[in-house]
Point group: C2
Chain length 373, copies 2
Amino acid sequence: MSRDNETIITPWEVKGKLEYEKIIQQFGTSPLTEGLIKRFKKLAGGNLHVMLRRKLFFTHRDFDLVINHYEKGGEVVLYTGRGPSGPIHLGHYVPWIFTKYLQDVFKAKLYFQITDDEKFLYHREYRLKDVQKFTNDNILDIIAAGFDPHKTKIIIDIRDINVLYKIAVKVAKHVTFSTVKAVFGFQHSTNIGLIFFPAVQAAPCFLEEEITGENVLTLIPCAIDQDPYFRVARDIAAKLGYNKPSTLYSKFFPGLLAGGKMSSSEPESAIYMTDTSETIKRKIWNAFTGGQPTVEEQRLKGGNPDICPIFHYLYFLFEEDDHKIRQQEMDCRSGNLLCGEHKLYLIKKLVNFMEKHRKRREKARDLVDKFLL
Amino acid sequence: MSRDNETIITPWEVKGKLEYEKIIQQFGTSPLTEGLIKRFKKLAGGNLHVMLRRKLFFTHRDFDLVINHYEKGGEVVLYTGRGPSGPIHLGHYVPWIFTKYLQDVFKAKLYFQITDDEKFLYHREYRLKDVQKFTNDNILDIIAAGFDPHKTKIIIDIRDINVLYKIAVKVAKHVTFSTVKAVFGFQHSTNIGLIFFPAVQAAPCFLEEEITGENVLTLIPCAIDQDPYFRVARDIAAKLGYNKPSTLYSKFFPGLLAGGKMSSSEPESAIYMTDTSETIKRKIWNAFTGGQPTVEEQRLKGGNPDICPIFHYLYFLFEEDDHKIRQQEMDCRSGNLLCGEHKLYLIKKLVNFMEKHRKRREKARDLVDKFLL
């Protein structure tokens, strides 16, 4: 948990202005240096993902150790997750694209945890069947991200708890209420399921070592708000005789409205993976930009790509061409590029991307069994 | 938890003078009335177990509802458990004899929970394999108690958590840290596994309803120290749409040393189910009694059966004949019966009982698979 002026980042809440340099300092993570990125690029055969090049993934814990380990022929296992509290939007999906890329680079096994227990325990109004419905829905988007079915296992906590519980009690034995109070802000009024849950989320960090007994390193790509869980897991890894998990954290994918991240609580801020092309066009068309109120002013003063979701979507994902994105940035700032033009450009790429996703998503229905534990 | 002067009764600690009338008041349970016992006797076809006749089982919650339900043709399910923290002694075993009797009377399914998670989480020095060793050992004694293999399922928490976790998270959602702090005395320094555990122990209360969807009543025969768990379970049953579990509580089986219950922390106070006949003879021979220091004084003043474990063992278990036990009590008080004679009498019955148990225990090795989930 990090509170600075009005910035709040917890696994349940992200609020306020996000200054990622400050976040690195507050969380005590390491910045992704150019040196490290260069080493990883070599390891990736020169194919550096746009999200690393442009620092959507921006900070880490011990990612350098993962690179060392892999360079020496060691095995790397990936672990990421999803809390099934609603449909998937692009903000959720973006780190999965990157995780799929990491799976290819490291030829890695991936554990994908669905924390249905946590979402049930957190949302007072949710019944188990609500969470189950989201789980079944979300799995289709996960599979559609293109993970290797031979190397990917989706763990649904309540369904697959038998795989996790033994590790979770070992973790839990070393984590007191004081600790989860300090780290997660739990109160006396917090329910005992949520209090235990950090042990369940820690379990997959150690699953591959537990199963194989091999010296594998687990790398966790996810958004920075999940760091508290893995800080706890890292703190006790040695006590349990496991390797510390390494992490690679992303910024939040910006929402379509002014400020803030893409959020399920504001549907117009988010592009859902099942949105139709028409809905996508409308949402982008209505989106906030860094532009001026009128064409005349835009031509005169130029726009501000730094605060513009249209620019950010292209920058972090949809415009991989470094030359083109630099040109767009300059044209925006100079007033050469109007917001309407830029939106149309993004819409074309986004609609195309989402059409492909929806097709893969339909095919995913037949693949679910292959991905489940 | 109940603290009165120096009397402490929690699931982890029983200390001080045990005044069972006071305990009933403090715990807020109902005494087993003669009227209720009479109704149950009828239901049991006249065969009233010595532990009910002599009130080793002495208090309950809603046992009358169980009788009503069964009389109307309803199904009763039994649930009891064992925390595998060492070998089984007679104090552990006695309630199982009674549970087996209840199984026969109610023709009931029995869930027998092995709380290996809790024992691992509670004892700092225990490794999982220690608890596993005790589990494997204890199961032999459980099976040797003679439960119906077609109607009895042993649930080993860590191994079988998949059956319990879904119910446990439903329970946990309604139990806060404040509650477990108040009920179990948990502190900020308590680990998050122990904090969650009451939800795991509550789960079998609702298991049969969860599985079958039928209107079954669950009856839990166990020692009174387990009441806090079931108080919590009863409190939230309605919120989850389950029937409240009913309970039937025993006193503690007395130890062989002066005062206190049979305790694993004092091996000479306890008769272990694997003790040899020689060991049993020695332990009984060395046992504390209610007798006088010399034969002369005993003849003159008589003994005190009220504080005598030898008498209690016979009273609660080994001397079912009401006439004979009354005679022994009178002869003790009058000085007619010497402690040595009484000890020899008990030794004969006890050695015989344990020999039979050891034979059943050996046969139990082949039955384990039948009893596991």
